[in-house]
Symmetry: C2
Amino acid sequence: MNPTIKDVARLANVSYSTVSRALANRPGVNEATRCKIIRAAEELNYRPNAIARGLVRGQTLSMGLIIPDITNPFFPEVHRGIEDGARESGYSVFLCNTNWERERETHYINLLIEKRVDGIIIAPISDTVDKIEEELKSNIPVVYVSNLPPKTDRSCVAIDNIRGGFLATKHLIESGYREIGFIGAPEGSFSIDQRLEGYKLAFRKYGMKLDQRFICFGDFKRETGYRIIKRMIEEGIYPRAIFAENDLMALGVLQGVKESGLSVPGDIAVVGFDDIPFASFPEVQLTTIRQPKYEMGKMAVQLLLNDIRASNNGLRKELSCRKIILEPELIVRKTG
Amino acid sequence: MNPTIKDVARLANVSYSTVSRALANRPGVNEATRCKIIRAAEELNYRPNAIARGLVRGQTLSMGLIIPDITNPFFPEVHRGIEDGARESGYSVFLCNTNWERERETHYINLLIEKRVDGIIIAPISDTVDKIEEELKSNIPVVYVSNLPPKTDRSCVAIDNIRGGFLATKHLIESGYREIGFIGAPEGSFSIDQRLEGYKLAFRKYGMKLDQRFICFGDFKRETGYRIIKRMIEEGIYPRAIFAENDLMALGVLQGVKESGLSVPGDIAVVGFDDIPFASFPEVQLTTIRQPKYEMGKMAVQLLLNDIRASNNGLRKELSCRKIILEPELIVRKTG
DNA sequence: GAAAAGATTGCAAACGTTTGCTATTATTAC
DNA sequence: GTAATAATAGCAAACGTTTGCAATCTTTTC
């Protein structure tokens, strides 16, 4: 169907290995011949078959990115960084969205390995990491991003979530709040556990006592933030401030508070996490902890490319493993 | 590096063609042998090389999706629909984000063709369509989504943008507004031109005169909506209502209006387009035109799969071409 | 018990490239 | 003009699968 290198060779009246060399700009082919070949290729509208090339080269110049939720604006930003970084090095990115479904995650890992991408970047669903490592028994380079398994010998990049949680809570405490709730994803989620740890750290540092009634676990979705605060308010037992584990949930909390006729931050202050674009909208003005999303993506690619190079050189993966922990930043706006 | 089918064959003590048949669950292989082979494959942690398979099969069971802006929540929703639809048919999706850069668009088209995806879904940057068609001289199945070239013999799916523009404007007119502005992307953008046409249609129908000062072209970004309305207000020449060509721009307009000390909809009413999730937030409550994003994605895959099947059967592409135009829906909230 | 039929397995070509090696041709040096 | 060298082009193997066909082995049939 598609013209092959042999069609070009026939038209240009040379052998197909010469065509290959000419089109790849490799030395050792006469300039006149090269021109003739290029013309022939253009005439036939020839596109090299990357699949065949990948087979013999043993590399595909592509990488996979597995994220849990493409509709959370956090991830598109990370993706942009990854894509830009990849392109600069001639790589392209296969984006896979798992929709928070464990089964999709393993599906995509396998798919990417079978497609022989050169490496994978994963923002894992936390409780699947053992499963992931099981699937990954191929020695394909992998870097974790954003949500890091506490112990891993792989390269990874994320922010200091403990510090992020600490900063958010500290800010609320210093603003005078004492009853500060935490709304997060299910326990066992890496980054969230750390943010919670930071939260507890702040309590300890200021000599305050935790109130378990105000620590709630849900998932990562806006609706959940909304539901949780709604229920709290209806039951009449709610804190004076909320540290939500991501901006989406914080937005849900905002909605719940306002729908209940209460005000933010007057009745309930809210601090989020991530600093997605919508957090800075004038209607929202969400106080939050900023993650350098785009930069995280860019760094993740660099780590992955490093690992890929290392594995091509036959280095053991421990040697190339590098961990990058970035600084979170408190952004004070109007909600807390 | 990775185990191949031959390694499995050696371990199971059979020929590698038998391994291929056994693992593909093809008939004609003894049950005992099959078990032995499966065990061997598991022991070696064998993953078939999809690249090699693609080469001989002449299909990759993958498709490309090219979108201009992954940070506009409209597209992730479409993507979800496409991915879900693709997965149901055993396909996987290569998402490419062009960032509104023409050069990236052609880059990705070429890349996808070279990677021999089985088909491509494109939400094109409008003024690149001729270029796209030029690049596409391969006979790969392609369907356009969301932003359709006015004349194309390819399958495509989008909403009725003229009607969408008409509905939005009609709503504003019937709400009593007379000075209604339009903020859109650069002229020549397909879907936008149509929305503008719907806007003009409404003016005509209600016997109103267009005011060219209130028709502005920018791009698709929030900042642009913000900038345009800010400038208008500063110059003191601004309409009483704005129909913004997408929700992102509408949100920018909202911001600009409020920052200028004016109120929405009191001083300026705003209607958007798309109905992205944030439009329904209580802080925003944006009146808008809903596009069935997820469904559009799902339909686009169906069209593409159709075209792929047709092209496998050697049908001419005109035969399989189908166009789906969906109904837009007016969602009245608080901004207009 | 032999022939026929069916089940199972293996052989080898094909997919479209890249690339090491060899063969040919052109150029240079003497 | 010949030998040595450099430049160019071609041959063929390799990458890891799938699959049509042939070969072998087992079972059935009469």
